[in-house]
Symmetry: C2
Subunit: 177 residues, 2 copies
């Protein structure tokens, strides 16, 4: 086990600006490419990250802290952003993600006293008992999963272009998740 | 085929600063973790990217343009950075990567006229005939591979911490390359 609050926050606070630097100003070709039918482009991944900030991590944390842990979390719809496609630009979405993430990190710091709260338990609708520590670790790894997804989607766009080097490029061997 | 010089350069110029924002100031735990014996941590990945700037992409491009394409490229040792471990800090390495990448993008722009040069051929020591377009596409996807590697290595650190959520986190299902 490696989880430490301060180290987790280091990554949580870097994700929005890392994505902002990487995605802002990119050509449409990079922003709109995906891995085929039913897969997400970079913009949809950012929308999904915003959705998680609104309806997943902090609401579930508050649910556990309110000691109503016998009730399972309200389910989180991982595809809801696809039903509510907003017309804002990628730059607006990146700003929205950054703003709500910064608010949520402040809330996290105010809600959680690591020595007291990390082992508190809630009930996940699919997994059963889960701990605050696991929820917060998952928030971090969820960011990493989606950064990885964005770069994998972009790599896929050049699969044919790299010619025989495909064999050396590990990212082109990863499966879609 | 999707390769366009201007779009490729968009990604090549973003990689150093994206990594700088993501890695600078991180705790030792994140910078030094790896995926086990024989795998690289984030610092070693940055060292490998610097090595590629020095000895791989532009030297091979110049080799093709000098029309000595009957000779194979000098081989590139993908592990050489491990033999020459430098003692500079991660911030110094990130600055070095950014500086040499910016120089190399300038050189790329001065060397390559897309309408004339993209289909020129060289001889890869393992693959045989390769084109300039394939070399440049590979430079881009190589960046993406290693950004993906860095986030995957960090995700691995929390594999046990996420508890039952491991099942939902695609990045923890990827294999090491």
């Amino acid at each position: 086990m490696h989880f430490k609050m301060n180290e987790a926050i280091e990554l949580l606070e870097r994700t929005p600006q890392t994505l902002e630097y990487f995605l802002s100003g990119l050509s449409e070709g990079w922003l709109h490419c995906n891995e085929g039918e039913g897969t997400w482009n970079a913009i949809e991944v950012v929308e999904h990250l915003i959705e998680g900030e609104k309806n997943n991590w902090i609401p579930r944390l508050e649910f556990i802290l309110q000691e109503i842990s016998n009730n399972p979390f309200p389910p989180f719809d991982r595809f809801s952003h696809l039903k509510n496609m907003s017309q804002t630009s990628i730059d607006q979405k990146l700003q929205e993600f950054k703003a709500i993430r910064m608010q949520n990190i402040s809330k996290l710091k105010s809600l959680i006293e690591p020595d007291l709260h990390l082992e508190l338990e809630g009930s996940h609708p699919a997994f059963g008992t889960v701990k605050v520590r696991e929820l917060l670790s998952t928030w971090v790894v969820h960011d990493l999963t989606h950064i990885s997804q964005i770069v994998r989607v972009m790599a896929e766009r050049y699969r044919a272009d790299v010619g025989p080097w495909e064999e050396y490029l590990g990212i082109l061997k990863e499966t879609k998740h």
